[in-house]
Structures are given as C-alpha cells and as structure tokens.
Symmetry: C2
Subunit: 203 residues, 2 copies
C-alpha cells in the first residue's frame, strides 16, 4: 500500500470512530488524530468531512458486497440464501464484537437513521446502500415464490417487512450489546415469512 497510505488510514479511522459512536459525535480532528494524519493532509485527500464519510460508506460496503454476493448466489436455492443470511447476521456481529469490543449492528444503517436529510450526500449514500441490501432479500423472495417454495405475495412489500425486522434486530443488538437477540433472528425470520422453519435441505 504505497499509494493511499494516509488516505486509507483516514477512511479506516472514520469507520472505526463513527461506527462505535455516531456521525455527529466524531470530529475531523478526532479522525486525524486516530489516523496519525495532520489536518492539511486530510483536506488534501478529501474535500470535506462529508466527502470522507461518503467514501468510508463506499469502502465499507465494498468489503461486505462479496460476502453478500456469495450468500445470495443465484446458484443457491432461494430459501437457503435467506437461511445463510439469517445465520450470517449473528456470526458477523460476533466478529464485530471481537474486534470492537461491542455489537455495533449495521454501519450504514446507523449513519442513515442519524442523518435523515441533513448532509444530503451522506444521507443519500446511506440510503443507496440500504436499498442495495434490501434488493438481495427482494430477489431471494421473488425467486422463492417463482419456484413455489414460498406463498405468493408482493415481494417488494415482503422484503420491506423482512428488512425492517433485520435492521431492527441489528439496532436492538447494537443498543443493548446483545448477541443473543441476533441468534433468534432465524427462528422469527421464518415465521415472519409465514413459514414454520427453514427448508430441510437448508439446515
């Protein structure tokens, strides 16, 4: 990493600090100090604090995307995709807890619910990523209905409800630092879809 060394450190510092507290509570100075980068360098790489945060959101998403692509692979039966995703939530936050000492939930969701309309660019990026995530669910539900393994209904509305449950569980887990709650997600998730449990082949 010769090129973008300080830049990368700034991005990582922003992710660490904002994720563990909040957008509004983290200052440029704090990010610089953690990244061991001077103020002038910050503004060499980024036009503003918001510019860095948008970049941080993109960077973080680019690390999650391949994982989601694998979980929601079209070569996998649609219900098995959901089963893997439900299980992934708990596993992933377990890793987060080991690294940050605390369950932190979803990075861009935490930012998105804090920055409603305030800094347009940040809010727009957070919403964009939330929508991208929801589309994984939507596709899996549509595929499941197409193959008849899930009762027919509006897949967009169903994905919205399921997504609300997932983000709610992640946020509650974050607030109460409660990993156990996420381990309940698979059970309740299937119920919310109108099913008693996961398909036999997916367990």
């Amino acid at each position: 990493m010769s090129r973008g060394d300080a830049r990368d450190r700034l991005i990582q510092a922003a992710i660490d600090l904002i994720w563990t507290s909040s957008y509004g509570a983290v200052s440029v100075d704090a990010i610089c100090e953690r990244a061991q980068v001077r103020k002038g360098s910050f503004y060499h790489f980024f036009a503003s604090k918001d510019d860095l945060v948008v970049t941080a959101l993109d960077t973080h998403w680019s690390t999650r995307r391949p994982v989601l692509d694998e979980i929601f692979s079209a070569s996998r039966p649609p219900l098995q995709r959901l089963q893997r995703y439900f299980a992934h939530l708990g596993e992933r936050q377990g890793e987060v807890r080991e690294r940050y000492g605390r369950v932190l939930g979803c990075f861009h969701h935490a930012i998105g619910s804090e920055c409603l309309q305030k800094p347009t660019a940040v809010a727009a990026k957070a919403q964009e990523l939330s929508l991208a995530l929801r589309r994984y669910l939507e596709t899996a539900l549509r595929d499941a209905q197409a193959e008849g393994s899930l009762p027919a209904s509006d897949p967009v509305a169903s994905a919205k409800s399921l997504f609300a449950f997932v983000t709610g569980a992640l946020t509650q887990a974050r607030v109460h630092d409660d990993l156990e709650l996420l381990r309940q997600v698979p059970r309740t998730g299937w119920l919310a879809l109108g099913m008693a449990g996961p398909p036999e082949s997916a367990a």
Copy 2:
C-alpha cells in the same frame, strides 16, 4: 401555564428539533432561538443540554404513557391489545406526519440508537424508556400464553423479537418517510408471532 412557560417552550423546542433531525445536530442556541428564550434563561431552568434532553424524553414519554396504558389495558384480551398497538403505530405516525411534515418514528428510540454510551444520562434515560415500552409487549405475550391464545414460548425472547420488528419498522418508516410500511405491521406482526392473523374478536 403561568409557571414554567419558557421552560415548557424549551422542552417542546428540544423535542421538535431533535426528533426531526438528531441529538448531535441540535445546538443549545438553536433550541433557544426556536423557543424564543435567551441563553441565560436556558441555564436558569436546566443545568446542561443533556439535562434538558433527559427532561424532554421524560416529558414526551408522559404524553405517550396514557395512550399505551389504554391500549395495553389488562381489561382487554391480550391479543386484542397487540392488535390495537399494531394499528396504533400507523395511525400515530400519520398524526406525526401531519404535524411535522414527515414520518419520524419513535422519539426516544431515535435518540437511543444515536447516543450509545456517550452522554451517560441521555443514553440511560432512552434505554429506560425503550425497556418500559418493551414490557408492555412482554406482559401482553405472557397473558396471551397464560390464557392459551398463543403457543407457549419464552415471552421475554418473543417480546424482544417482536420489539425489534416494531422498532425496525418505525425506523425504516422514518428513514424513507414511508407510512405504507407501517400499515403492513399488523400482518407481519401476527406472522412473527406464529399466527396466521388477528383473533376474530379483535378485528
């Protein structure tokens, strides 16, 4: 309201401003300006910004509590309580939208997920109120299981999951200003409890 006139305006201004944006984005000056109260008066009534916010949380809760007490009245069949609450979510946020021009979700939940550990007093108060709300669900679930209208399970864990879904739906509705999502809550809520729909007598 002879006593506490300016004080009340400060509390209301804090609720309005923080609810429509966020804790971190609202300054004491902004609150004072909206309340038409001078800085000195602010600190005559409140020891600090956090002190006002804690008071605002309590004040707001005290307006919601009688409504919840009515909805979750023990003289009502437990499943009917849940049905009423599910329906209430959409109605209430409809009112909020009319008043504030936007769906805002749950006030103390928005603050609670933003202020994780930072200002101890604010975070503690927000968590206290979240817990109080969750207990309404817990009691209803316990009563429903006791009378056999809901399959037996751990009511605490079930309440956590149901509460995660409700807060998730409120937050999604807030972020996307989407009232329609909340209107789906009754349907998905019953599913998540392992029921096909509300009891006949409750509809």
